[in-house]
Symmetry: none
Subunit: 251 residues, 2 copies
Amino acid sequence: MTAPVIVLVAPQMGENIGMVARAMANFGLNRLRIVAPRDGWPNEKARAASSGAVAIVDAASVHATLADAVADLQFLYATTARPRDMLKPVVRPKEAAAGLRARSARGIATGILFGRERTGLENDEVALAQAILTFPVDPAFASLNLAQAVLLVAYEWMQAGGEGAARPVPAPPELLPASAADLEGLHTHLENALEEARYFRVAEKREHMTQGLRNIFAKANLTEPEVRALRGAIAALERRWLKRSLKIGGV
Amino acid sequence: MTAPVIVLVAPQMGENIGMVARAMANFGLNRLRIVAPRDGWPNEKARAASSGAVAIVDAASVHATLADAVADLQFLYATTARPRDMLKPVVRPKEAAAGLRARSARGIATGILFGRERTGLENDEVALAQAILTFPVDPAFASLNLAQAVLLVAYEWMQAGGEGAARPVPAPPELLPASAADLEGLHTHLENALEEARYFRVAEKREHMTQGLRNIFAKANLTEPEVRALRGAIAALERRWLKRSLKIGGV
C-alpha cells in the first residue's frame, strides 16, 4: 500500500516545512512535495527544524506549480480552515484517513494539499481536489498552524491503519495479574492482622468492612509482585509490634 | 460538564506554553495549570506565542509542586512517550478522551499531565496518575513536541464530544474518586507507619518501594470512603502496637 503524499503549497517559513516533516514521521508518512517555497530550496531552516526527520526534507520534491506537483496523483483532499461552497464532499480528518486507506489499498495514488501559512489554498487550487478536508476546531478559535494540520491528518492516517494503530503490547510475566489464590492470601493476611489489632470493633460491621477492603484490592488489578509488596508492608507493621513488645518485655 | 485540566510539569520554553494554550483553544479546552515553569511567571514569550489564546495563558494557575497543582483532581492521565512498566492501564488519546468525557459527565474532576520538553514526567509524577496516556506514534520516529501532544489530546476530546455525547449524570458523592490531596494523605500516613516499622531496610530501595505502593493505590481508583477505610486499617495496626506495649508495660 502506498501512503498518501503531503503537498505543501507555497509555504513561507522553512521552520514550518521542517515541522511538517517531523509531524509526518511521527505517524509513518514520508512522501513530501513542495510547491514554490517562498525562500527557495534547499532550505537549511527546514532541515534544522525537522528534528531527525531530515530524510523526509531531503527527499522532498520541489515543483514550480501545483499542477505539476500532483500530476500523477489520483485522488486529492484539499485542506481548508472552514468548509467552502465548493459543492464537494467535506470530510473530517478521520473520514479522510479512512478514505485514504481505502484508496491506497486499491492502488490509487492519493495526496493532501495544505495551503500557505496565513491565507491557505486559493480557490483554483482547491478546485483540483476531489474532496475537502476540514478540521473540527472550535469556531470561536480556529488557528491550527501548518504542522498541526498535517499532524492531525497523519495521526488519523496511522489510527486508520490497524497495523501499529493498536498493536497489543504483550505484557511481561511480572505484569500479569495475580492469581485469585494470591489475592486470597493477601486478604487473609490483612484480615488476621486487623483482627488482632481490633480493627473490627463492631462485630456486625466486620463483613461489610472486610468486603470494602477486598473491593479496593480487586479494583487495583494487582500483580503478583504487588501482592508481595503489600504483604511485606503488612508483615512489617506486624513485626513492629513484635519487636517493640519484645524490647519492652526485655527491659 | 467540567472540561479536563491540562497540567504542564516544569515546562522550559515560554513559547511552548503559548503553543499549548493555542492547541487547547482550537479544541475547546481552557483550563491550564503550570508546575514550576523554568523561566518563572508571568512569561511574555508564552503570551506572545499563544497567538490569540492569551486568555488561557493569563488565566493559568502556577504551582510550586505537582501535588499542589492536582490536589483537587480526581482522575489523572499521565502522558508518556512510550508505555512504561507502571502496571497501570495504558490508553491511546481516543480512549482517554472517551474516559475523560464519561468522567466529566459524572462530575469527576480530571486532569492530564504533560512532562518536560526533553525528559517528560518522572516516575514519581507518573505514580500520581490513575492511567497512562500514550500516543500511537511510529516506534521508529517518536518525537511529538509538547504542544503537539496537547493538540492530539484536545482534538480527541473535541471529537468525543459529539452532540449530546455526555449528558451529565452526577454520581453520588460516595462513589466519586478521592482527590489527589486525599491520596497524598493516605500515602504519607502509610509511608510514615512503614518507616517506623523499618519496612524500608535498604535505603536505596525506599523510593522504588514507595512508588510501587503508590501505584497500587493509584490504580485502585479509590473513593474517599475507601481512603478512610485504609487509613483506619493503618491506624489500627499502629494502635495495636501502642496497646500491646502499654499492656505489656503494665504487666
